[in-house]
Amino acid sequence: MTAADTLTKLEARVRDLETTARETGQNLDAALTPLRAEVQRLRAEKSANLSRWDRVQLARTPGRPTALDYVERLCTDFTELHGDRAYGDDPALIGGPARWQGTPVMLLLQQKGRDTKSKIKRRFGSANPEGYRKAVRLMDLADRFGLPVVALIDTQGAYPGIEAEERGQGWAIAESIQRMVRLRVPAVCAVIGEGGSGGALAIGVGNRVLIQENAWYSVISPEGAASIIWKDAGKAPEAAEALKLTAPDLLDLRIVEEVIPEPPGGAHLDMDAAAQALGEAVSRNLADLAGLDGDELRAQRAARFRALGAFTES
């Protein structure tokens, strides 16, 4: 029996015992505690051995916490502000002022939706130009009121629709990048699931960029790359390997500063613990940046991104 099979079986037994405990009112902790510990150990072991494609699948697991799941657990006083003041309101990219573990911030959130209906409404987190233009407006407010920006990235990419192109998808993303470059407040970004292409980077120009352990971030989705390379989206696992899109890869490339640990087996298995780790990492980075003034923050962010790239010089 593989370790994965063992894990699956033990997880089932834990659930059975929990059910029985509930139904009978018996305290079965004496049995449950060692079982749970073994499950945790096997999950951690599994996590360490995950392939890149495994992690992509984890990033997409149904039930993985969405941006709003984290906001509910970490924020108070969130006021969602709507609209780009020019065309529409995009439910795929939302935001507004809130307190992040007590600290006043401006949130920018890519929100995928939590059930079928809201997933469709939110286009699975793929924003239209209105979303990016709303982000620009919220960054204006963040600068005006001295609120640090916290961006949670979770998108397969900007929405590739006819209307999105008509209304300047590329233009809107470029403006959002430029606006973020110009911020005079701290910006901490965290990839919490999928970080696909320019649609993710549009709100990813942070002074610090973090990524959860099982999130990915790449110039193109594995399926997109596989379609181009092999004319076969089914080869996404191979493409995922080639793209080096996992959190540890990105840390190596210095594209992120920090990998935020997830509970063993993935953030969906313990949302509260995942939120705790995310909250702590963002808060700590915000605290680090709190001493810098507007010029310094802008300069640090510019220098950070100016330095990215790999080349030799003759």
């Binding site: 233009w171 470059v181 997109g224 990215l308 030799t312």
Partner: protein
């Protein structure tokens, strides 16, 4: 989502900027046979139907700048294989082939020159090199050119031609979008004009970064310009794309570009525009 459409397809008859194999070329639009000499004299625009042939970076700058004024700056920065990227062939092999074909380290050529006598800094993307895809070197050279323009106090003129970001450098390619944006800040801060010219095709990450934050954006007639490629859109929405969708004229209608300008008019247009924007009397 970037390179899909152009990266692999070859249209040798359209690559007028590459070596012209014969004395004449057939226009892919009106099918007229054109003497290469006439075509070159017409800035590689079909004198019959106005079709704009694609240009490599060198030909592009020859057409754009005052004759003989170009001084190259790019060339010392070379690509590497940071991800050890392997698909149907290793990335270094791809690079070597493109380098051999174009005589260039990567898909961009930058330098200085004059337009109507006015000193400018320029960057031209080279679609003949890996579909003009943007990796670390393209980003770095464009960033350096923008920074040079700011230091030298000249306008910056960029000609885009790209299928998008370069897959083989994955997230590092993506970061070039932010890097180039950062580098362009110096121009805005110093009140120096930044003009971009979108040529066929300009898609993907280039459209979502430096190419579309210019002070003035021109497009060549008929050029395909967009973020998502047409094929990706069609796959996603399973819907027919409207006639002329993502073409230069469509973008003008939708408010995205300042004008669609015939390539033969570029130099005169920029001479007039840059003269006013820099508050100088120009015209050579």
């Amino acid at each position: 989502m970037a390179l899909d459409r152009f990266f692999r397809r070859r249209r040798p008859q359209q690559q007028a900027g590459a070596d012209l194999p014969d004395l004449w070329t057939q226009c892919p639009q009106c099918k007229e046979g054109l003497y290469n000499r006439d075509l070159e004299a017409a800035s590689f625009v079909c004198p019959k139907c106005g079709h704009h042939f694609r240009l490599d970076a060198q030909k592009r700058l020859d057409v754009l700048l005052d004759e003989g004024s170009f001084r190259p700056q790019s060339g010392r920065v070379h690509p590497t294989d940071p991800l050890n990227f392997q698909d149907t062939e290793p990335y270094p092999a791809r690079l070597a082939r493109a380098q051999a074909k174009t005589g260039r380290p990567d898909a961009v050529l930058t330098g200085t020159g004059t337009i109507g006598g006015l000193p400018v800094t320029v960057a031209a993307m080279d679609f003949t090199f890996s579909g003009g895809s943007m990796g670390s070197v393209v980003g770095e050279e464009i960033a350096r050119a923008a920074e040079h323009a700011a230091r030298a106090g000249t306008p910056f003129v960029l000609v885009a031609a790209s299928g998008g970001a370069r897959m083989q450098e994955s997230a590092l390619s993506l970061m070039q979008m932010a890097k180039t944006t950062v580098a362009l800040e110096g121009l805005a801060a110093r009140g120096l004009p930044y003009i971009s010219i979108l040529s066929d095709p300009t898609t993907g990450g280039v459209t979502a970064s430096f190419a579309t934050i210019a002070d003035v954006i021109l497009a060549e007639p008929g050029a395909l310009i967009g973020f998502a490629g047409p094929r990706v859109i069609q796959q996603t929405i399973r819907q027919h794309l409207p006639e002329g969708f993502q073409r230069a004229e469509f973008l003008l209608d939708h408010g995205m570009v300042d004008d669609v300008v015939d390539r033969r008019e570029h130099r005169a247009y920029l001479t007039r525009l840059l003269g006013v924007l820099t508050r100088q009397e120009v015209g050579a």
